[in-house]
């Protein structure tokens, strides 16, 4: 059981928290701007590299570099929206999606031009697990990741429920025309959507890089799980995206669990296998499979999001 927690449950929670942060942005951008933002993964990568630049230049720990990464990514998202997406507001939404693919390529190419392609950790060296939490193997970075994700999610909750802008965002996400009729300024809400999405994306990128290491495809590789999480939770439902992110992260990690018969949760052997249920090479495929099942069975997602 301890093995199970150490090797599968903790990594699942870590991955799930990171997916949740990224998926919130995807979900909100989809419901407010009405398009699937394919550059979201690369926005994550951009944030991770900004933090890396600060870590290298100032020799600060990654968590201290996080606010700079967040600010830089939010600014970049606003510039990108102005230059690349705003001209398409009146055209068919799918044209913006093509543009977002272009932006994704540009972001990744810029990152490779500036920082190269070599993967690198923020901090060299291996850090031992925290002794006080034995026999659980929990590293300091795990606490940082889950803690940061929790703080950001609470901040988002307060923004959405307690501020005027948050309420306007929710209104627009529910029904854009109705929101406009009541006098909500569309462009301001859109700008704030980008800021929120970019803040969470940058944090997700930095946290992912803290957990593993930075590389130019860091975010692009997460695109499918992010969309799967957003669709699973219901597009336009931030809390659904959090739920979806956690589920997808858990499922991906648990899928490589070797022998289900050692799990005695229900006091019975669930399955007898001594190989991983799904080869680890196919983890991403699993997120995709969940997404396809949702699209067939319940396209509005678990929390009743929108289907367009």
């Amino acid at each position: 059981m301890i093995e199970f927690i150490n090797n599968y449950l903790v990594p699942g929670l870590i991955l799930g928290s990171i997916y949740a942060l990224g998926a919130i942005g995807v979900s909100m951008i989809y419901s407010i701007l009405r398009f699937a933002h394919f550059a979201h993964g690369d926005l994550m990568t951009f944030g991770a590299y900004l933090a890396y630049a600060v870590v290298v230049a100032a020799d600060w720990p990654p968590l201290v570099a996080l606010p700079f990464a967040i600010a830089g990514t939010a600014a970049a998202a606003l510039v990108i929206d102005n230059l690349a997406y705003r001209p398409f507001r009146k055209s068919r939404p799918i044209v913006v999606v093509i543009a977002s693919f272009g932006v994704a390529l540009m972001l990744r190419a810029a990152i490779m031009l500036i920082w190269g392609v070599q993967p690198a950790p923020y901090v060299e060296g291996i850090e031992p697990p925290l002794e006080s939490l034995e026999p659980f193997r929990i590293h300091e970075k795990h606490i940082i990741i889950v803690g940061t994700a929790l703080v950001l999610v609470i901040a988002l909750h307060l923004l959405l429920t307690r501020t005027k802008m948050g309420k306007a965002m929710r209104a627009m996400s529910d029904d854009a025309d109705l929101a406009r009729v009541t006098g909500i300024g569309t462009e301001r809400v859109i700008a704030w959507t980008w800021i929120v999405g970019a803040v969470l994306a940058a944090a997700a990128g930095v946290l992912m890089a803290i957990d593993t290491q930075i590389k130019p495809t860091l975010g692009w590789d997460q695109l499918l799980p992010l969309f799967a999480a957003a669709i699973l939770g219901g597009l336009g439902r931030p809390y659904g995206a959090i739920l979806g992110g956690l589920v997808i992260g858990m499922v991906e990690e648990l899928s490589s669990y070797p022998a289900w018969d050692t799990v005695q949760i229900f006091g019975a052997k669930l399955l007898e296998l001594d190989k991983p249920i799904i080869s680890p090479g196919y983890k991403t495929g699993l997120a995709f499979a969940i997404m396809i099942i949702m699209l067939i069975w319940r396209p509005q997602g678990l929390l009743r999001g929108r289907v367009l």
């Binding site: 989809y30 398009f35 699937a36 394919f38 690349a84 001209p87 398409f88 939404p93 799918i94 044209v95 999606v97 093509i98 543009a99 693919f101 272009g102 932006v103 994704a104 390529l105 540009m106 972001l107 990744r108 190419a109 810029a110 490779m112 031009l113 695109l223 499918l224 969309f227 669709i231 080869s279 090479g281 196919y282 991403t284 495929g285 995709f288 997404m291 396809i292 699209l295 067939i296 396209p299 289907v307 367009l308």
Partner: protein, 320 residues
């Protein structure tokens, strides 16, 4: 000597440009004519490439691959590649075409990613990261320039055949229904057209040509590995080609393919003259430019070089 080198360069340019033109024509049927957002080109491309490679490569040459090596004649392999790619497209289309186009984008890019994972992981079939070697190339027994020239002419012929087929489809009642669905789905449905069935047909036929493009690439390069189906080369380059050339226009698709491929390879000539560390940077710069081109052309020249012109109605006034 110099002239011979130039000739070889020219044949390589036209051959690869022609293969890309086949894929751009397939994309034009999906996106340009029917409005289906297919970003899984790399997936269908890989399916076609592996299908044909496994069927046609002689058993002794497959290098690391345990299954396949059937030594079929090449045209049979190409036909099989087209059919298998169509079958994969059918499965994807059945699930995703009834939803809005964004979902199709996510689903097709996902399928492409899964196909790449299968290619990487199922080493018995695909040779894993090393891929399949020793794939036969048409006319490879002929002498130096003649084999290349024959290959170029063969590809040219295939492009022409695909063009004639799609042009005929475009001008037929079937093509009119496609454009009707693209421009106003509700109206097309109100006229009694089975929108979902027509979309599925366009998606399958378009993806089949992407599979054919994959097969032709594998036979031309003689090796195929998962990296060749990187979305940048196999998906986004084709998108840029179609958008630059003019989506909705079959001639535009061909022009865009040849033109963008010319620019893409011409930059390699410059790279060769630069120090190696610059060469790597130029590759990223090219990637940046592909992205920039997508955004800029869509914003300022959405019609492309050869804008779509609706075919004349027989005996009536020109449409629109």
């Amino acid at each position: 000597m110099e002239l011979g080198g130039l000739l070889l360069y020219f044949t390589a340019l036209v051959t690869m440009g022609g293969i890309y033109a086949v894929m751009a024509l397939g994309l034009n049927l999906c996106w340009g004519m029917t409005g289906l957002f297919n970003v899984g080109i790399a997936g269908f491309f890989a399916v076609g490439a592996y299908t044909s490679a496994l069927l046609t490569t002689p058993p002794a040459l497959t290098g690391g691959v345990d299954v396949g090596g059937l030594g079929w004649p090449m045209p049979a392999g190409w036909l099989a590649a087209t059919v298998i790619a169509a079958a994969v497209a059918w499965a994807v289309g059945r699930i995703c075409l009834r939803l809005r186009s964004d979902y199709l984008a996510i689903a097709t890019i996902g399928i492409a990613e899964i196909i790449r994972l299968v290619a990487l992981n199922e080493e018995t079939f695909t040779g894993g990261a090393y891929g399949i070697k020793g794939i036969p190339r048409p006319f490879e027994t002929m002498d130096r320039p003649w084999g290349e020239i024959a290959m170029m002419l063969l590809i040219g012929l295939i492009v022409f055949a695909v063009y004639l087929f799609l042009q005929r489809a475009r001008n037929s009642p079937w093509g009119r229904v496609m454009r009707a669905i693209r421009d106003n789905e509700t109206a097309a449905a109100a006229m009694g057209k089975d929108v979902e069935a027509f979309r599925l047909q366009a998606f399958i036929i378009g993806s089949a040509f992407m599979g054919l493009g994959g097969a032709l690439t594998a036979h031309y390069l003689k090796v195929f590995h998962p990296e060749a189906s990187e979305p940048l080369y196999a998906t986004f380059l084709v998108w840029v080609m179609l958008i630059v050339g003019g989506s909705g226009n079959n001639r535009g698709a061909i022009l865009g393919a040849v033109l963008v491929w010319l620019l893409w390879t011409a930059s390699e000539l410059i790279t060769g003259a630069l120090p190696p560390e610059w060469g790597v940077k130029i590759a990223y710069l090219k990637m940046f430019l592909v992205g920039l081109l997508l955004v800029v052309v869509l914003q300022w020249f959405p019609a492309g070089l050869l804008p779509e012109r609706p075919p004349k109605l027989a005996g009536g006034p020109t449409a629109k």
